[in-house]
């Protein structure tokens, strides 16, 4: 094929989402700053700003805008932001299943959700949601300490088994996000 691949076409400030948006890598991000950066870049590079230009320019703008939107999406979501940081730090996800204790907790929550929605128990649903939100916030706080500590020069060896701790907190965060989505949908169905 004679058409160059998109990555060869628009390689500019390369690298991952942090590099592309020139946001200093950290888990505890200033989300307002992130939005502002996204807005400024969109305002300048959205394909609509090049409506009268040639197809080549519009395509280049489109590819840039897609990359900017994708990077914004990655950094805005705490789970993908944590995964990206872990990858940047060269942390490898431990093989094998999550801890038995965590899996049991997940099963209990799922059952509680099923029971509450079957019984149309709004108060219990709200309780489950608030409990999970608190868990999510704890996982987030733990990741700020762990990941941002590593980013600012801490060595994995210096900490108490940090790699598995990082991935355990990411798993908790991911699980909480999924559970909250499902539980809130159930709550909507009730009201």
């Amino acid at each position: 094929m004679d058409t160059p691949s998109p990555s060869a076409e628009v390689r500019g400030p390369s690298g991952d989402a942090f590099d592309l948006l020139a946001i200093p890598p950290a888990f505890g991000l200033d989300l307002a700053e992130l939005s502002e950066r996204h807005r400024a870049l969109s305002l300048s590079l959205h394909p609509d700003r090049f409506a009268g230009q040639s197809a080549a320019v519009r395509r280049a703008a489109l590819q840039k805008a897609v990359a900017v939107n994708e990077a914004h999406r990655t950094l805005r979501d705490p789970v993908s932001r944590a995964e990206l940081l872990a990858a940047r730090l060269g942390l490898a996800a431990p093989a094998g299943p999550e801890s038995l204790e965590f899996l049991e907790h997940v099963m209990e929550l799922r059952e509680a959700l099923a029971e509450a929605s079957q019984a149309r128990d709004e108060a219990r649903l709200v309780g489950l949601i608030q409990g999970t939100e608190a868990e999510r916030d704890r996982a987030s706080a733990a990741l700020v300490v762990l990941l941002d500590g590593l980013v600012s020069g801490g060595h994995p060896e210096a900490m108490n088994s940090p790699t598995s701790a990082v991935f355990e907190q990411i798993a908790r965060l991911r699980y909480a996000a999924r559970f909250l989505e499902a539980a809130r949908a159930e709550l909507d169905d009730l009201s």
């Binding site: 058409t3 160059p4 060869a8 076409e9 628009v10 390689r11 500019g12 400030p13 020139a22 807005r39 400024a40 870049l41 969109s42 305002l43 300048s44 590079l45 959205h46 394909p47 609509d48 700003r49 090049f50 409506a51 009268g52 230009q53 040639s54 197809a55 080549a56 320019v57 395509r59 280049a60 703008a61 489109l62 590819q63 840039k64 805008a65 897609v66 990359a67 939107n69 994708e70 914004h72 999406r73 809130r184 949908a185 909507d188 169905d189 009201s191």
Partner: protein, 649 residues
């Protein structure tokens, strides 16, 4: 009637069209303000009704409405509800006067058709008649009509959008953008009513419901979430009332009365509904069996009870949209009402209860969407306010997985343009082909989502199950068009598919309809294409010269010569002119495009770095200004073309 003073040098004016279930409107920006143009009925609102006479005549608007009772079988109302739908989507017909044609082939099953008695028509053709009428009104009042922005419900899926595009093409309109209706309304509020902050737009029309949450900020309007139901609207209220009327007339539920009787009952229902907007209670006389008359009475409370099931559905969509946007009702700066059905007190009360605040209706809810479309058309053709709209995907896009599930590659409410990839693997030993089924929707099973495309990646090397790596990449451009690429990463075998959702009418069929609709058929089409190719060639040429003036330093050795060569070749083709030059021009434009491709990427990177370095205002404003300059030249040319070649209008 407002008329522009005739000016032969007037540039073509971009227009906005609200193609509604009940009414359609065409608007334009005049002296920086959006105004609705007068339609063939002498009013802004053109009823979206088409009547096909037995003699072949076609009537649109109020003239067509007069036939709803006299000739219901040949009169189509609420066609928007059928756009992009298969016959099976409507096989369980609700109370309506429309007769569907029974499909005789598999191809015919894919698109619903209306049976007029002596022939059938598709929803696309019916919509095209409405658009053609609006276009004619615009041509009569503006002389030179440019591109058009047509609004669609945010919740329209790809097939419904494609059907709308095809209707515009049939009507001879150049579509600049299909704009989501609530976004259009928000644009009108942001620019006209000078609102800023986070708003919810509650849009209940005749046949569709949309809810959108968005941020209105200086220069950027960003949609945060959208949701809705493309099969819910004021028509449902009419049918619920009509069912009561028919009951009073002596028709049992489930019984199907003659089409004339249904038409009359629906008309009575609409009168009652409209009456209840002003009055607490309405009484009308209706004929009953045996020639007598009976009094049908309905008050506001009873209407609210009748509407409640549908209102609850809108409430659920509202809560989900707020949740997706991460906003509480109290965190909103306002709730905007859009669509004729929001005039109903029952709907206003419901919105007030749901959002806990008095909704806004500063701008006429019937016109606000068309105003937004006109403002967007002006902005996209460089004639209006400098505002950028960042819209989102209304429905998730994904790939069917083993076992019939869906892997959502781009979730709903992702900002567009968007791209994402996902990796799959083979499930059988020595599997050499991999079928990719692209689906759209929120349901967990692929069979419950809308199927957009299927294609097979072939030539995968025979490997044990699970070893081949298939990377599927989705990208959606600013027009909401999806492209899917699939690549086997160990061998690099790649396939690209531009997903054009098929809803039963193929490109060739649309082409045939287009030729049939033109006075001189194929010759006319050829002339139009040559004219379009000339406009595009001049645009590209000018843009390239401006780019050379600004960014020639980014050209690599050898590349400069190739670009210059392509520019010269295109200039020569333009000088040649002649009737057969369309294909040559397109070819040379493509060659120039190819020669400038990598350079364009480098120029974009320069602009990108400038933004990051905080110089966005100067650098980027320059390139935008360059684009605007191009428009002026194209307009000049466009005029010449319209002045010469449009004798028939």
């Amino acid at each position: 009637m407002l008329l522009d003073i005739f000016d032969p040098k007037a540039p073509p004016r971009a227009i906005g069209i609200d193609l509604g279930t009940t009414n359609s409107i065409v608007a334009v920006v005049r002296d920086e303000r959006p105004v609705a143009l007068t339609t063939c009925d002498g009013e802004a609102l053109l009823p979206s009704i088409v009547h096909y006479g037995a003699s072949g005549s076609v009537l649109v608007g109020r003239a067509a409405r007069a036939y709803l009772e006299r000739d219901p079988g040949r009169t189509i109302a609420s066609v928007k509800r059928y756009m992009g739908h298969a016959h099976a989507d409507h096989s369980a017909q609700q109370l309506t006067n429309i007769v569907l044609a029974v499909p005789s082939t598999e191809a015919e099953e894919k698109t619903v058709r209306f049976d007029l008695g002596d022939r059938t028509v598709s929803p696309v053709e019916v919509s095209a008649e409405i658009l053609r009428s609006l276009r004619q009104s615009a041509v009569d009042q503006l002389t030179h009509v440019g591109g058009v922005v047509i609004t669609v419900p945010a919740y329209f899926d790809d097939a419904q959008r494609q059907a709308t595009r095809d209707a515009a093409r049939l009507a001879g309109l150049e579509v600049l953008r299909l704009l989501n209706e609530p976004t259009a309304a928000a644009l009108a509020y942001g620019l006209e009513a000078q609102k800023s902050g986070t708003f919810a737009v509650y849009d209940l029309g005749g046949g569709t419901f949309d809810i959108t949450v968005l941020d209105l900020m200086e220069g950027v309007f960003q949609v945060r979430s959208t949701g809705g139901d493309s099969q819910l609207g004021g028509d449902d209220f009419d049918r619920a009332i009509a069912a009561r009327v028919l009951q009073l007339q002596g028709f049992a539920a489930g019984q199907s009365p003659p089409a004339e009787v249904i038409s009359l009952a629906l008309d009575t229902a609409r009168q009652v509904k409209h009456g209840l907007t002003e009055q607490e209670s309405v009484q009308v006389l209706v004929p009953v069996r045996g020639g007598a008359e009976a009094t049908f009475t309905l008050d506001r409370r009873a209407l609210r009870e009748l509407c409640q099931p549908w209102l609850d559905r809108t409430g659920k969509a509202c809560r989900r949209a707020l949740r997706d946007a991460g906003v509480e009702p109290s965190g909103l700066d306002g709730v905007v009402l859009v669509g004729g059905s929001t005039r109903m007190p029952a709907v206003r009360d419901f919105v007030r209860e749901t959002f806990g605040r008095e909704p806004l209706s500063d701008i006429d809810p019937d016109l606000v969407v068309a105003y937004g479309a006109a403002l967007s058309a002006a902005a996209l053709s460089g004639q209006g306010d400098d505002v950028l709209l960042l819209d989102v995907l209304p429905l998730s896009l994904g790939v069917e997985t083993m076992g019939g599930g869906v892997d959502k590659i781009l979730p709903r409410n992702t900002t567009i343009p968007a791209g994402a990839r996902s990796t799959f693997t083979t499930y059988a030993d020595n599997q050499t082909g991999f079928e990719i089924h692209v689906v759209q929707g929120e349901r967990e099973l692929a069979q419950d989502c809308r199927s957009l495309a299927r294609f097979t990646l072939r030539g995968i090397p025979p490997l044990p199950a699970g070893l081949a790596r298939l990377e599927v990449h989705f990208s959606v451009d600013e027009n909401n068009l999806l492209e899917v690429r699939a690549r086997e990463t160990t061998t690099g075998i790649e396939q690209r598919v531009e997903v054009r959702p098929s809803y039963g009418l193929s490109d060739d069929m649309i082409e045939d309809m287009l030729i049939a609709a033109l006075e001189y058929g194929e010759d006319d089409l050829e002339r139009r294409r040559t004219a379009d190719a000339t406009v595009e060639a001049r645009r590209v040429l000018l843009a390239t010269k401006k780019a050379l003036a600004a960014d020639a330093d980014l050209l690599e050795p050898g590349e400069a010569d190739r670009v210059q060569g392509a520019v010269l070749a295109l200039e020569q083709a333009l000088e040649q002119g002649g009737s057969a030059s369309g294909a040559l021009l397109n070819h040379r434009v493509e060659a120039l495009d190819h020669a400038t491709r990598e350079w364009a990427g480098r120029r974009m990177n320069r602009a990108f770095s400038a933004v990051l370095a905080g110089q966005d205002v100067t650098t980027v404003a320059k390139s935008v200004a360059a684009a605007r300059g191009v428009e002026a030249h194209v307009e000049e040319h466009e005029q010449g073309r319209q002045g010469r070649g449009r004798g028939s209008e």
